[in-house]
């Protein structure tokens, strides 16, 4: 099997792995590297449950070949919290009961982080537009939007 050697940085750690060219980043993250926080909902870029941040850009990891992350930096949901505690988004999701089943939550958190990273004070419309690539079937989005609004208040204050 023609496996390729890939070096990258995932959640701040230098990581090396071997993968087949046909393997998606999502597959390698979940099955080979044990980062099962990124979820597979559709495997064709239409649900956002596998969202990760690649060199500062939000992408669906099911639509990235693992070989493509050579030399790149990846942030998954596992990279949001620090030893000091949860990310404000995670905290607000809990306080607002923004998750029911929770399967879409990692994707929403990563997507929302990417949003706040580039716009710490978004309008409700900007939040809804940015998160339109993340599907949630449990909540009707209301409590998710509210959590992002509250988190943005925290982030922009501390910023």
């Amino acid at each position: 099997m023609n496996k390729i050697h890939v070096q990258s940085k995932i959640n701040g750690e230098n990581i090396e792995f071997l993968c087949e060219p046909r393997q998606s980043l999502l597959e390698v993250l979940r099955e080979d590297l044990g980062f099962t926080g990124s979820k597979e909902g559709c495997n064709d870029g239409n649900c956002g449950a596998c969202s990760v941040i690649m060199d500062g850009t939000l992408v669906d990891s099911c639509l990235v070949l693992a070989v493509e992350i050579q030399g790149k930096e990846i942030t998954t949901v596992e990279g949001l919290a620090t030893v000091d505690g949860l990310h404000p988004l995670q905290q607000k999701f809990l306080e607002n009961a923004s998750l029911q089943c929770g399967i879409c939550t990692p994707g929403f958190l990563v997507a929302a982080k990417a949003l706040l990273d580039h716009n710490s004070n978004p309008t409700e419309h900007e939040i809804r537009h940015w998160l339109a690539g993340n599907l949630c079937r449990c909540t009707g989005y209301d409590k998710i939007i509210r959590a992002v609004q509250e988190a943005s208040a925290v982030v922009s204050k501390s910023a």
Binding site: P21, N46, S51, D60, L65, E68
Partner: protein, 300 residues
């Protein structure tokens, strides 16, 4: 999906020689938002996937007052709407760049990839037609330029030879009193394929009261994205008013031959061609007159 060989050449020459290699068919990978899905769905298979994102020419995004705008074939959508020149001079491009898939897709998907995927419903092509863009193609025998409206030859088919690749899309400099607008109809507000898409570019004359130049591009109304030539020429020289715009809309309807599928019936699509063309022209005129027309990333 079947396994394949992955290669990421860092020069145009290397890429072309790989594509020229006859043993084994190659597919070009830019953003991958179409290719990876198609390979997975075994809609087609590839022995070799050529990642072109390391080729400088394909990552170029530059503007010059003489040469106009150059969009490297691998430049992802988000770079377009984060680029000051595009935002300031080519708002029509932003209209389309900001509605392709969701933010995640826009982080990867490129105009070049959308053009080469050559879907009849491609969201970038109508506005590129409107802007009078050209495709710069490189092959073993050098480079050639093809007007965007002549690039697609059928659903998923285009003029590229197996050993050629799209290097960039060239968009002319913008004239005074000109404006462009793209919009599409979808049942949701995001994450959808155009039921009908319409892009319009206008140059106004006679103190912005008449149409001096008009180019209308349509998506999802024919086997390829369409340059509505008759509709465009019909209103040149005419006064800018509802009747004129309505006439162009009717002509656009006449020139489109949509099919019925799960996204819409032919009858409904034809109706939408009129509506979308009218709105595209209205938006283009408004911008030509210095007005603001919102889109997915520019609320107000």
């Amino acid at each position: 999906m079947k396994n394949f060989e992955y290669t990421a050449p860092n020069t145009l020459r290397k890429a072309i020689s790989i594509l020229a290699d006859k043993n084994g068919n190659s597919r070009i990978l830019a953003g991958g938002t179409d290719l990876i899905v198609q390979l997975r769905g075994s809609r087609f298979q590839a022995e070799r996937v050529v990642d072109v994102k390391n080729i400088p020419e394909l990552n170029e995004l530059s503007y010059g007052s003489k040469k106009g705008l150059t969009i490297g074939a691998a430049v992802p959508c988000y770079r377009i709407y984060q680029n000051a020149d595009c935002v300031e001079r080519y708002p029509g491009l932003i209209d389309s760049a900001a509605i392709i898939g969701g933010i995640q897709i826009q982080g990867r998907a490129s105009f070049g990839g959308n053009v080469c995927n050559s879907s009849p419903s491609a969201d970038t092509i109508p506005v590129l037609i409107a802007y009078g863009s050209k495709c710069e193609i490189a092959g073993p025998n050098g480079k050639r330029r093809v007007p965007i409206e002549d690039f697609c030859t059928g659903p998923g088919k285009n003029v590229l030879q197996p050993d050629e690749l799209l290097v960039s899309i060239r968009i002319p400099t913008i004239k005074n009193a000109s404006g462009a607008h793209y919009l599409r109809f979808i049942p949701r507000n995001e994450m959808d394929i155009a039921v009908v898409g319409a892009g319009a570019y206008v140059e106004l004359g006679n103190r912005k009261r008449t149409f001096k130049k008009v180019r209308i591009g349509l998506a999802a109304v024919a086997p390829t994205p369409l340059f509505a030539r008759e509709a465009s020429e019909l209103i040149v020289g005419r006064e800018v008013n509802d009747a004129t715009i309505e006439a162009a809309a009717e002509a656009a309807k006449a020139s489109s031959k949509p099919i019925s599928d799960m996204r819409g019936t032919a009858e409904y699509r034809t109706h939408l061609v009129g509506v979308m063309t009218k709105r595209a022209l209205q938006g283009a005129v408004k911008r030509a007159r210095g007005g603001f027309v919102p889109n997915a990333v520019q609320e107000n």
